[in-house]
């Protein structure tokens, strides 16, 4: 009797496991941030007449996109503050100091999503943005989300733009002078499926 039950249950369990596994694989895709085809850049007003541009060269991240139930999707991005690059080494060194990013104290800038909902042409992502030791809840509109398969690798791309005030993240007032308080962060990222 026991033997009969084992014979019936074993294939059934196996079938169930395969179905669950396949279900997850079909509905939710996990992507790694593709550093080669992505960029996190920023611009800030200079003397309120022009813009200074810069970028972060060392970024990593992970997104899980569930097409069937978007609320189960998640986005995570980690930026190494030390990798700031404004095409001027002296200014970059200055920006790494405690008056600005304080990279030895706060080595990373992070975003972790807490809620995702679908909107036309993309996703509206609510999440915790941590910079300079301060965490604020922000909402970003990720435009895109189109998936393609190139050379056997599935890829997805997003773009977004967000405005932040440095004073909201405890940046020192002495550093907010000629360079405006508000910074615009531009994220164009591509993910490669794991």
């Amino acid at each position: 009797m026991l033997r009969m039950m084992t014979l019936v249950l074993k294939p059934l369990t196996l079938l169930l496991t395969c179905c669950i596994g396949a279900g997850v694989a079909w509905s939710a895709d996990e992507y790694d941030y593709d550093l080669v085809h992505s960029s996190v850049s920023f611009k800030a007003r200079h003397l309120d007449i022009s813009w200074i541009h810069g970028r972060f060269n060392d970024v990593s991240g992970k997104f899980i996109i569930d097409r069937d139930d978007v609320t189960k999707s998640s986005f995570q991005l980690t930026i190494k503050a030390e990798s700031v690059d404004t095409a001027n080494p002296a200014r970059d060194e200055h920006l790494r100091q405690p008056d600005y990013f304080d990279t030895k104290q706060f080595p990373t800038i992070e975003f972790k999503s807490t809620a995702v909902k679908a909107i036309e042409d993309g996703f509206e992502v609510t999440g915790d943005f941590t910079m300079h030791g301060t965490t604020k809840k922000i909402v970003v509109k990720l435009m895109g989300g189109k998936e393609i398969e190139s050379r056997g690798v599935k890829r997805v791309g997003f773009s977004t733009e967000l405005k932040l005030k440095r004073s909201d993240f405890n940046f020192d007032k002495s550093g907010i002078g000629a360079i405006g308080d508000e910074a615009i962060i531009l994220i164009d990222c591509e993910g490669m499926r794991k």
């Binding site: 200079h46 003397l47 190494k80 001027n88 002296a90 200014r91 060194e93 200055h94 100091q97 405690p98 008056d99 304080d102 990279t103 030895k104 104290q105 080595p107 990373t108 030791g133 405890n170 020192d172 007032k173 002495s174 550093g175 002078g177 000629a178």
Partner: protein
């Protein structure tokens, strides 16, 4: 942009406030018990530093999030308490068990404090992050070695300062420490860390005001040697902490830091041949000249670097 006028106001405010608070309290406390007088001296110094830091816009926030906050909210108050404990002896009799026990407790507290200063200033920074995370700058054994070297340097500097104070060089030493604090502020700002440099200004003003108040009150009430030791202990610890922050969070080099930190100890020069045979006034001039010379050399090199690296940025900003 740095505002030299504001730094000068902060320095003068700290100088005036600490001078008035300590001078008045020393005259008023002349007849009371020594421990209470020392406590009032400590409060006077805090009252002196407070307006200076307020003028510069330093706001207290708890928990402190960066090294400078930890210096102002943990290290500086702890240094004051350690120096206060270090000067209290109960009762004032070297052969009494309680006296020896209180001396042992004071030495233990001081040792624990010296070992912790660097660690507290590094708290939550990349220097202490785990090996697994990819944010660590150094392996743990290097971080441990640097912390140990820093503690040893602070211990030697404190011992050297106390020996100098007992040899009657405390006035020159205090002046040397104030000069070093001012140089620390300027060099840190020239290296690009404006707030870190500004933090040295009220300290220099406050310590200078307190020393002057002690000297003037001492003419009426007699010299208060333990207050002088207290002030020297605070100054050495503050100098160490600001240079540590400038080295590990700003852009100060190890050369800058060592030259500035060791410069007040040039006061030893007058204790050796041939200067020890000179008159007191000559010896004081030699001490001050030696300290100033080292600080000027460091400032000169930092100024040169500033002109090369930072001026193009500032010129660009003000065009």
């Amino acid at each position: 942009m740095p505002d030299p006028f504001q730094y000068m106001i902060a320095l003068l405010a700290a100088f005036t406030a600490s001078f008035l608070a300590i001078f008045i309290s020393q005259l008023a406390m002349r007849a009371t018990i020594p421990s209470l007088a020392r406590f009032v001296f400590m409060v006077g110094l805090v009252l002196g530093l407070w307006p200076g830091y307020r003028i510069l816009g330093f706001a207290s926030r708890w928990p402190p999030v960066n090294a400078l906050d930890r210096f102002l909210m943990i290290v500086l108050p702890a240094a004051m308490i350690v120096e206060f404990i270090g000067t209290v002896r109960v009762p004032d009799d070297q052969h009494n068990f309680l006296f020896r026990f209180s001396s042992f407790c004071a030495a233990t507290v001081r040792f624990a404090f010296i070992v912790s200063v660097g660690r507290v200033l590094w708290h939550d920074s990349v220097y202490l992050s785990s090996v697994e995370s990819n944010t660590n700058d150094w392996p743990p054994f290097i971080a441990f070695g640097v912390l140990l070297s820093g503690a040893a340097l602070l211990y030697v500097a404190l011992r050297s300062s106390m020996i100098l104070a007992f040899r009657g060089v405390s006035a020159s030493l205090t002046a040397g420490l104030v000069m070093s604090l001012l140089a620390t502020g300027m060099v840190t700002m020239l290296a690009g860390y404006i707030k870190g440099g500004a933090a040295a200004m009220p300290l220099a003003g406050g310590i200078c005001g307190a020393a002057l108040a002690l000297w003037m009150a001492g003419k009426k009430t007699g010299p208060a040697t333990s207050h002088g030791q207290f002030l020297i202990g605070i100054s050495v610890t503050a100098l160490f902490s600001l240079l540590w922050i400038g080295r590990f969070f700003g852009q100060l080099t190890t050369f800058d830091v060592l030259m500035i930190f060791l410069s007040p100890h040039c006061c030893w020069l007058s204790e050796f041949w041939p200067f020890r045979d000179y008159s007191n006034n000559y010896r004081m001039v030699i001490r001050m000249a030696a300290v100033a010379l080292i600080l000027l050399v460091v400032l000169f090199f930092k100024w040169q670097q500033f002109m090369q690296k930072m001026i193009p940025l500032i010129a660009f900003q003000t065009e």
